[in-house]
């Protein structure tokens, strides 16, 4: 079989270049946007992804980690009765108003009260053992390096949260929050900072399991006890996704992503289909000749579709190479970018879908390949 589509693409590559660039940039734009959004909003699930707990227990209907309510502390013994559960610890979330030593105005802080024990689950992946140990001191707090200017404070200095004095004993990294500043302290310190009278227990109980792979199953069977007040359970990955999704859609960022995807698709498809139409028109007499010789219209359509496929594939290849370079560059500059398999797959589907739609649009111009017109 003579590979007409591929040979034409190679021989007349200049003709197809605009389409490949359009497809490539459409893919790249979408890829970077998704990576940025996931990077930025990924920090809303830091509390889950930075910790080694497998199951989270919190107030029913909680949409994001920062929006929990207190639950019954006695649940802890209920959880420990499950043979899979290895360790349970409370996690207390307190919204705080920060007043620093320097004039910074008000700053909103998210106080995370955690178990400072060496084998504690919360923030085990982002907090070094020595830093964690310093939280045992009363009123000790740890903040992220990036928040020091925002809070107007340095290590060893004191400030107040909700009117209570705290002292910075350590500086962590990878603790950035969205819409505020994360402050880490011990459970005891956090309870002292909590001035909400309705809080009468931890915001969450987090548990590690003997077999982390069974998180979803265990979470499901820990649900439904009625004697401890309202609560529900999630596997860690479910809860992390829940938080990210809440932020994506609550802030309109998700709608923004979809909107841009639509624009990118339309613009890319317009350019690509026009290029393919021009390529078909450039060979319309040859196509008509083939049809005169009895090669069916279906076979000619396949040639156009195949060209669209290769344009998509080559554009995608270019976008991938450039995208990886740009993502690495962004990482090196501390720009939060995250790319996971589903979003990469979404980009691939978008780009190939764009190419397919363009090919279908270009196929229509084959109608002009009427061999009778060659005889006039």
């Amino acid at each position: 079989m003579v590979a007409l589509a591929r040979k034409t693409l190679v021989y007349e590559w200049r003709r197809f270049l605009p389409a490949m660039l359009a497809v490539g940039f459409a893919g790249l734009l979408q890829l970077l946007q998704i990576a940025l959004v996931l990077g930025i909003f990924g920090s809303t699930s830091l509390y889950v992804t930075g910790s080694s707990a497998d199951v989270w227990v919190g107030y029913p209907g909680t949409q994001s980690v920062g929006l929990g309510r207190s639950i019954d502390a006695d649940l802890q013994s209920r959880l420990l009765m499950d043979p899979q559960v290895l360790r349970v610890e409370p996690y207390l979330w307190v919204d705080g108003d920060w007043r620093g030593p320097r004039e910074t105005g008000g700053a909103s802080v998210f106080v995370s009260g955690i178990d400072p024990a060496a084998d504690g689950l919360m923030f085990s992946k982002v907090l070094s053992p020595t830093l964690r140990a310093r939280l045992v001191e009363p009123d000790a707090i740890i903040v992220d390096r990036s928040a020091l200017d925002q809070l107007g404070i340095g290590i060893g200095q004191s400030a107040t949260i909700n009117g209570q004095r705290v002292r910075v004993v350590g500086i962590g990294t990878g603790l950035r929050a969205l819409g505020g500043v994360n402050v880490l302290c011990s459970l005891d310190t956090a309870r002292r900072l909590d001035n909400d009278v309705t809080d009468n227990g931890p915001t969450y109980l987090v548990a590690s399991l003997r077999d982390p792979a069974r998180a979803a199953t265990v979470a499901a069977r820990l649900r439904g006890a009625t004697s401890f007040g309202p609560y529900t359970t999630w596997s860690a990955s479910d809860f992390a996704q829940r938080s990210v999704r809440y932020w994506l859609f609550d802030t309109g960022a998700g709608a923004g992503v979809m909107f841009l995807a639509g624009i990118v698709f339309l613009v890319g498809a317009a350019i690509t289909s026009q290029t393919l139409v021009a390529a078909v028109n450039g060979s319309i007499r040859e196509y008509a000749t083939l049809n005169a010789l009895g090669v069916g219209v279906g076979a000619l359509r396949k040639v156009v579709l195949e060209q669209a496929f290769w344009v998509g594939a080559l554009g995608l290849l270019g976008a991938s190479v450039l995208g990886i370079v740009l993502l690495l560059l962004a990482r090196s500059q501390d720009v939060p970018v995250v790319l996971n398999a589903p979003s990469a797959l979404a980009c691939i589907i978008l780009v190939m879908g764009l190419a397919a739609v363009s090919g279908l649009a270009a196929m229509r111009s084959l109608r002009r390949a009427d061999p009778a017109t060659l005889l006039r």
Binding site: V2, K7, S283, R285, E286, A292, G294, V295, G296
Partner: protein, 253 residues
């Protein structure tokens, strides 16, 4: 395949390969209606080169389009190799053309990206031939048109006359019973035009192909077995140039 249908109408041995019966065709543009062909009847014999000549606009290209099944008639019938073309739908017409017809056009209509060999092989791929058979036929017909040494070249590396020979090889490789040529020499100089018409003549005689050529080129007239002069949608004269068919068959020109 369809030879039995009209066997009782005419003597089977001399049944025409192509037949138009009372064919009419008009084109409408705006309110203007132009009658191009008006109740025209015609029979084309197999294994000879028939030339339809006449001034431009006389309807000869339309007649070619109708006889080759590229255009539908308004009235009348067209029979090709025993098939009634008006009865075939678009798919069946494509299939008929694939099996039985070759075309050579005024423009050479070659894909710029393909070598001469690939131009010829491409339509054969769609005929259900094996790869080897398609390649064998492609090589054979390129050799037959004298391009055996130049079949790896692309159109941009070939002269006009060579391009037209590639187009002829492309049609010839299908081993069609019917070969249609529309002004095949008008884009070429005298020497190349001569080569092309000689080739068409030889194909008719050595392959037994019915070659129908439309041209206003007066140089071609002497090379045709039969010349039909056309004007205003009617055939004015019909004359034979050479000895009976049996004499010229198999004789290289």
């Amino acid at each position: 395949m369809n030879t039995m249908h009209s066997g009782n109408l005419i003597e089977p041995a001399r049944r025409p390969a192509l037949q138009a019966v009372e064919v009419s065709k008009a084109f409408v543009s705006g309110h203007q209606r132009t009658q191009v062909l008006d109740r025209l009847s015609l029979a084309i014999e197999a294994a000879e080169l028939t030339l339809i000549s006449g001034p431009s606009g006389c309807g000869k290209s339309t007649l070619l389009a109708i006889l080759s099944g590229l255009q539908q008639v308004d009235g009348g019938q067209v029979r090709a190799l025993g098939s009634e073309l008006g009865q075939l739908d678009l798919r069946a017409l494509e299939r008929f053309r694939l099996q039985h017809t070759g075309f050579v056009f005024q423009g050479f209509n070659l894909f710029p990206a393909l070598s001469a060999f690939e131009q010829v092989e491409l339509p054969l791929n769609h005929m259900g031939l094996t790869r080897d058979e398609a390649r064998r036929r492609a090589r054979q017909s390129l050799e037959e048109v004298g391009l055996g040494q130049r079949m790896r070249l692309r159109p941009s590396e070939l002269s006009g006359g060579e391009k037209q020979r590639v187009a002829i090889a492309r049609a010839l490789a299908k081993q069609p019973e019917l070969l249609f040529a529309d002004e095949p020499t008008s884009a070429l100089d005298a020497a190349n035009g001569q080569i092309i018409i000689d080739l068409l003549h030889r194909i008719a005689h050595s392959h037994g192909t019915t070659v129908l050529c439309v041209s206003h080129d007066p140089r071609l007239v002497v090379h045709a077995d039969r010349v039909l002069a056309m004007e205003d949608g009617r055939i004015l004269s019909d004359r034979r140039n050479q000895a009976p068919l049996s004499d010229s068959r198999g004789t290289p020109s």
